[in-house]
């Protein structure tokens, strides 16, 4: 079983396609991680400063969950087109996206984890590939990091020696 972290970004789509190209026909689980609203609030400068009644947290979470499920289902469809025998799952992010991916990989006893080298976290990630970095650091199984097509192209260009790319 291969676990593929998927956030619906074009980089994540490219990661599925490239992974399918290499590993196709294997069973795969496309995983979308979503963030419960209380977690978002706890990490924003606003804190819990919203007036009661303005936001219905349960409603927001239901919307987030169904959005994540749609994303994951789309990702699984793309994975099937890319050759995988794919299913999908969603998971809530209680600590970090990377931890949620690692937990699922553990639960599914996955042989490998696929992540794009850049995606989006709940609040757009500032760090390039913070999720892939964290997954790699903490995984006790094979991790496949797929660079986004734009990044890969730039790195192939002969005029920019790879040593100068970060």
């Amino acid at each position: 079983m291969i676990v593929i972290g998927y956030d619906g970004s074009s980089d994540a789509k490219a990661a599925i396609e490239q992974a399918g190209d290499l590993l196709g026909s294997q069973p795969a689980t496309v995983l979308t991680v979503w963030q419960p609203f209380a977690e978002v609030l706890a990490r924003t400068p606003l804190g819990f400063g919203f007036a009661p009644g303005v936001l219905n947290i349960e409603e927001a979470d239901n919307a987030s969950q169904s959005a994540a499920e749609r994303l994951a289902a789309d990702g699984a469809e793309l994975a099937r087109q890319s050759g995988f025998n794919a299913q999908w799952r969603v998971s809530t992010e209680l600590t970090t996206t990377a931890n949620a991916i690692l937990d699922e990989a553990e639960a599914l006893d996955a042989s490998a984890i696929v992540v794009g080298s850049r995606g989006l976290t709940g609040l757009r990630s500032v760090l390039l590939g913070s999720v892939s970095h964290a997954v790699l650091q903490h995984a006790d199984r094979t991790v496949i990091v797929v660079p986004s097509p734009a990044v890969a192209d730039a790195r192939r260009r002969p005029h920019s020696p790879p040593g100068n790319q970060r």
């Binding site: 190209d21 290499l22 590993l23 892939s132 020696p161 040593g163």
Partner: protein
């Protein structure tokens, strides 16, 4: 489509773990395997001389050559490529070789020769993620018992 898999090896046990995955991938895709080894050289001293950083560089190379001929014996198209770089320059050298070969993936161990604790990922592997033109498949030394 025909695949080219780069197996980045420094001759360590960690690289050997990665070889299992590289081999499985080459078999799965019916592709070709290129063993890329970077010989790191010390900075030149006063006399201008420079030496391999690994004192057993010749042994490491011989080991990799043996592994490559074993692969060929198992019906996998495999070649060996040795590059040279100044100390610390292994990752760009490997990425450069992957670019030149238009490889579809680089398979690498997460540790290398310097096992500093079980949690840290080796600097060459870490750096490869930032500069690789193709997917990097990082294989841990203590592989989880799962199906490949």
């Amino acid at each position: 489509m025909f695949k080219k898999i780069v197996w980045a090896t420094d001759g360590s046990d960690s690289a050997d773990k990665a070889l299992d995955v590289a081999k499985a991938l080459a078999e799965h895709t019916g592709g070709e395997l290129v063993a890329v080894h970077c010989e790191e050289l010390t900075l030149p001293g006063k006399g201008g001389g420079t030496y391999p950083v690994a004192a057993n560089e010749q042994e490491l190379k011989a080991k990799i050559r043996r592994q490559v001929s074993e692969l060929s014996g198992n019906g996998i198209t495999a070649t060996m490529e040795t590059t040279r770089a100044r100390v610390g320059g292994a990752a760009p050298a490997i990425a450069g070789a992957a670019s030149a070969h238009e490889s579809d993936a680089i398979v690498v161990g997460t540790r290398g020769h310097t096992p500093i604790g079980g949690l840290l990922v080796g600097s060459v592997t870490q750096r490869l993620l930032h500069i690789s033109p193709c997917p990097v498949i990082a294989v841990p030394t203590r592989e989880h018992d799962g199906e490949a």
